[in-house]
Symmetry: D3
Subunit: 334 residues, 6 copies
């Protein structure tokens, strides 16, 4: 397995314990995360060789972030340090009919002020065979968009696999670029699309619904528009409430449509990063398995992430495999 | 919105973390609450103008209690301080088939020794347009009953709205007064009845069952007996077990019977104060909405309270409104 | 009620908070447990007179263990102290489809090096009328097997009741003894069998399935083979996932087959020691009740244990009785 | 060593962590203590045979208190349970020039309502050879004074040693008895006086200063007035500030005056119960040692208590002995 | 006592427990502070009438900040809310020879983007008789400087007392203004100077040393240059190490030089905000006492602040007064 | 700077919070440490290139240990995993005159069962230029002694620097080897001796006292006996009590005797690993500085370690350097 490259902002997450709000707390817990590094850390935890590229504050908070990434044996050697602060987000974890609440302090962070010249892409991608990006990075600032674009172009030139998770968040994209145009440019460098109807509608300008037939039709249209893309993977979440979800996945790989059974996640511990756990499972799976089994692996990884507090999936390869083998009842051996 | 007056004991609640018993713990958490102040704090947290009248110990525990109330921007200027201790209750939060356990240390508290001359009701109600009381206060001591009675009489004279939540607890009423007679006297000063079949049976001396028809019949009888009362609101709780309840509400306003759909509260965090959250939602709602929408607002507030640890409802007006708008799946936007 | 004797290893359990893994933690909680002492502590907590015999380290960890047992007013006077360390186990509590994980450090513990001459069985059993053992003890070392055997023989001679819970764990039995032979020898000293199909198959060398008919057939065969055994009690667990189980029980007492209804344990707090809680409930129940009511008592005790963190059942006699009286909805009175 | 009897109120202490105030906290820690039970627990922890007699609430807080005492293997069989709450005190631990703050909620506690008929003194003192009392108990209520008096009279009749620690707190003695008269009556049943100039001045009505000469003179006068008393032990505390004290002791046993060197307690962890640790060390010491060595033992025990959080001295006999042997530099062996 | 006005940034402080670094932690504690609001909160805690003016994020972190200020009964009605995040700082508390470490994330905070038109100074100062400012505010941005300047000019016009604490931090003043010129302009609106030699040298362009004579000479020169200023108060800190300081104060009021004795702060809990506690004590004191006693009051308040974790001085008026009365040994009464 | 090799057991340390004993706790904190890995981690934290060689359990505790080492960017690629448990030690941190207490569970740990064939020394030392060992490793088992010996012989062959810290603990050395002979063999492969009079007396069989003259004489004798050794560094600790130490260092490098001034460590946070911090500082320092400055660096590192909880020195190169530059008063800049 060659080196997998992830690129994106590392954020410090600060959350009260359990389901408390900040207004009820004076003790909080912190984690580090960010959609792309979550993917990288999860793959590293499976044993993969992953390098994460980002820009981090040159203070003890930045040191702590790097130490956190090192725990997973992620390659942190290409990380840039500047004197801007690390981005922070505050999360209050909801329950039942109360959704989680989030507040960001990232708009002038170290990463948001990244510029293309700060990354030595040639060196960074030297041993890479896979590049993963998401729609968050181009949505932040012109600098982060340009830097990503430069990396993706080189990845394409080098013939790397490029997985795209073009998650769309309306609260971002504030700096003046047209989101569809930007994503279009980046998707032309990509080979695997990880996203659902919303994301396809966003980049295609369509209005497809959520049925499997529409998913297949949208996927075909996507592949037609972006010929470099060969496969589409979608994770479907059904929320009973903030504490109880169901998860399944479906795919179109140009030939076959497949879908998995539902995982019934009756007692969610933390849903942040579960989509990233799906992407990580998929990327890891595709190194070893066929498309369908990779999707199953990704679904199981995603389901397991709901049982870990924090942004990162602490599931091990053994835990995911045990579920793939049909052990979903949570019984333990001793 | 004029000033809402609440009157009643403030208690310090002490609870082990999670579902632990005291015998398993050496660290505990504390909160302040009490059925009437819970109502007041919840309305203040919605942005209402609320004054709470009570009697609190003149020590650092009393200082802490007042500081806790101030957090919510509740008007604490009418609070009396004496050298008796603050009442305390100990709560062990149950789970599944294990009920919560409670133990009180309140019988000689600062509040229990309140006397009518200690409250300047004229001044306290000067800007009030609503008075809320519960059946706990008259059940404590002759002094607390008398003090409440004096306040209610003035409220009636001033033409204030008076909401009554005559919760009946058999463990109280130890000081020699007949509970039905006492409540009857107080209900004659009241305009809104917040309670169900049990409370109506208690004050009417009847034996109605739980059907809607019986609820309507009981409400009519209540309104006949207490002509000042014009509306009856009832919250119905179905306990699957200590961790999983369903909540709905119904009302009779002299003309219409209405009921809400069930909220399915699959993962209860803390059920203390959920009835108070209903009362608070109702009182707040009735300032702005019609009876039915007020009851819906109250139900949503009550349901949300189950997701907050402590006695007080930390739900914001936005959170309640989002549920009224139909968003009950707990998904969060970012 | 005479004195109940339990004999077996006391382990220190170390667990992260909630559903965290060690790799996510730097604060952990500790408890003491072990299948036999869990039974003893639970009976002592019900108010029974219980003596636990074991071997514990002669250091501050051993002091802490004894202090923990003393909390329950268990008779600790027969406990032996040596300079070997106390056994430890590490537990990560799972959730939903993630099973709990366990890692033991017990193979050279104080208890594992126990030898028959170290226990004065005559004195230890002087006031005993019941002896409880499990399949863990003979599975550890030759010394622990021999010591147990000596105790059981004396118990048989003295005509004590002997309950056997021959839990089989394949990870143990590493020291060279044939497990079936060893258990056979010990079962010939026993009067009550607490175990299910798996345990009966293990000692009978059969291959029965899980139906009630097969349970009865296996029980009859067991009683035929071990004439000292007169009753068989079985607890059946259905795992929806690691957070949600159902529990029921069944029995054959030589004459009647009976089974209980399911307890639906929708929000598990900690499932460690729930089987021990069943055994404890059964032993306690059989001092006072008939077989069927004892089994009901045991089931309720077992169900309640799922709501307590740690290895020991903190349920009180009142809590169990309330459930026997049909109050399973977890409502609390105040 | 015969059984040592202690009699007095058990209080629940609730304190924020470290040096926080309640107003800064939402998490607190709880302990159980009370001057007489602190003495009993400390002696039990040294390995002594101690029975504590008290009256405790019949609820889960009372259960927790008894479980706490059982940890130390204290004999709790004579404890009375009533439906009054356990007394509580709140403590904020000071630092440097900030003194600790304390607030009591004990005036209608289970113990404060004790009456002589509730204690079976004959049975309770059956195996006793030492009775320890303090000036707190007679200062609470007529009932607690009368109950103590009855016990002391029987102790005197039986020829038991009786140690008196007549600590005087002006905030108590509110129920109408003259403190000097009450203490005088009790001291006439006592054999060992544990107290200093303030206490002697209080019971003698004198005005002695703090010099050694005055101490000797006061002691002589005390022994003359109370012929049953044969020895006087005094602990002298010098406060540099709330975090740094010096402790030494002196004695007059009718023949010799002796005093110890200062212990320099440069980093106090918790000073509550340090006087009780002195009394406990003295009582324990006097079972084995001469007066001077007992006083040294008591001083070392007292000094060590300053390093333990909570009311009880967790020092072991080995820790005290090591200091008696001259190892005061806190170096540890491994 | 009229209303005291404070104006400045409110920051969220995040710190690991005790002396841990972030790299050693996953749990942290948060507080709110900021040099000016620390002064305001401390005076409010003494019972003063204080209004704080600032600009805070319009999210749940901002809500939590306001709730925190409300605890102290500070007037928060003039606080502006915008959609920029609240400033944050991270603090690692040192010990012995290890200094504390600090990292700021405040450069694009809600407050840093304040502009003069956002504050209605006329309304804000309507009931004010004292305005307190520090050198932090003009050092942040042109907007914060301009807004402060406008407020101070109005304060001068209205004849309010204006206290200036022109703390100089070289890490600030990055936006292009000359610090001496800016401070000069602001000092011409001020009446009380709270600062030492460093601050006087900064604004005078002098190079005085730390002797009392030089302090007097510098003070005279300052008063000559800024005729509105009538008194100079200086707090002198001697650091033995990060855990042990000595504090004293000196003053020149145009006529007299006075200085206090040292407070020996042998066990520092938290030194953040101790300078603000001095300023608060001084402002509060000058409402009631003469200059010297006010300075003593301020010194005692400052000393006490070292014993409270967090930015705010939780000392009460009773605690400060007890020290003024000479009780510095930290003994407590009960 | 070439790669520094450390070899030795990694232990899990479990400690209650603050100065609590286990018997007072139910929550504890864990760390990883061990004298040699402490040295390695500290050097890695300074930025050095360090590889640690050890044998660790193949379970989630072992995974957690490796993740902990990775945080420091230590090279963990040569670590062996077996199915024996990781060694554990329990530590209760003392205060004032109470020493810390320690209890080990390491005698059958993964490392204790290491054998020479399990380590590929050729590969492990391929890039090494320094090897550090301590007297703990040969004291454990024959296997650990033999494995170390093999490594040291190769290191000597390769001409690497070898630092020896032959700490002598009488509680070890239980497996039958003569400690002096074993250490002698290992010292003949060493070039730097880190130890004091006790260690020199142990290996020389002498009886030198603690004066500087005797230190020089002993050092000369040591160098004569072990010609490979060229320098001796000694750290001298003066314990006022368990909370307050003084530290200084002295050296003999064959030519010069030098000693440092005392560091006065008035408020110790955690003294475990402070000797290892000295060794780490020395090894790091000797890569860049002369002997004397290296010793100063080592002393400052050692002093700083007393302010960090846990076994590892979290001091950064900047923190040590600041002290070398004379800033020992703990003032912080902002």
């Amino acid at each position: 397995m060659g080196q997998i490259i992830t690129f994106g902002e590392v954020l410090m997450r600060i959350s009260p314990r359990g389901n408390r709000k900040f207004i009820q707390s004076n003790t909080v817990e912190f984690y580090f995360g960010g959609t792309e590094v979550n993917v990288g850390l999860s793959i590293a935890h499976f044993g993969g060789n992953v390098k994460h590229i980002t820009c981090i504050s040159d203070d003890f908070i930045g040191d702590t972030a790097i130490s956190y990434l090192n725990k997973f044996d992620l390659d942190t050697t290409a990380i840039i340090r500047t004197n801007r602060p690390l981005g922070v987000y505050f999360l209050e974890v909801g329950a039942v009919m109360r959704p989680s609440s989030i507040s960001y302090n990232r708009s002038h962070s170290a990463f948001s002020e990244i510029k293309p010249h700060m990354v030595d892409w040639e060196k960074s991608l030297a041993n890479g065979n896979w590049f993963h990006w998401t729609g968050i990075t181009p949505a932040l600032t012109q600098g982060s968009f340009d830097t990503l674009k430069e990396g993706l172009k080189l990845a394409k030139e080098k013939g790397m696999q490029v997985s795209a998770d073009p998650t769309y968040r309306s609260g971002l994209w504030q700096y003046g670029v047209n989101s569809r145009e930007a994503l279009t440019e980046l998707l032309h460098c990509s080979t695997i699309f990880i996203g659902g109807i919303n994301e396809m509608n966003e980049v295609l300008g369509t209005n497809f619904g959520y049925t499997n037939d529409e998913f297949i039709e949208a996927s075909k249209m996507l592949i037609e528009k972006f010929p470099s893309i060969v496969k589409v993977f979608d994770k479907i979440r059904t929320s009973i409430n903030a504490s109880w979800h169901k998860i399944r996945a479906r795919m179109w790989n140009g030939e076959d449509f497949r879908e998995t059974e539902d995982f019934d996640i009756t007692h969610i511990v933390d849903r942040i990063g579960t989509g990233d756990a799906f992407a990580a499972g998929l990327i890891y799976g595709l190194q070893y398995y066929d498309d369908y089994k990779s999707m199953q692996f990704a679904s199981a990884a995603c389901a397991l992430k709901h049982t870990y507090v924090g942004d990162v999936n602490y599931a091990t390869i053994e835990e995911v495999t045990r579920i793939l083998d049909g052990n979903v009842s949570g019984r333990f051996n001793r």
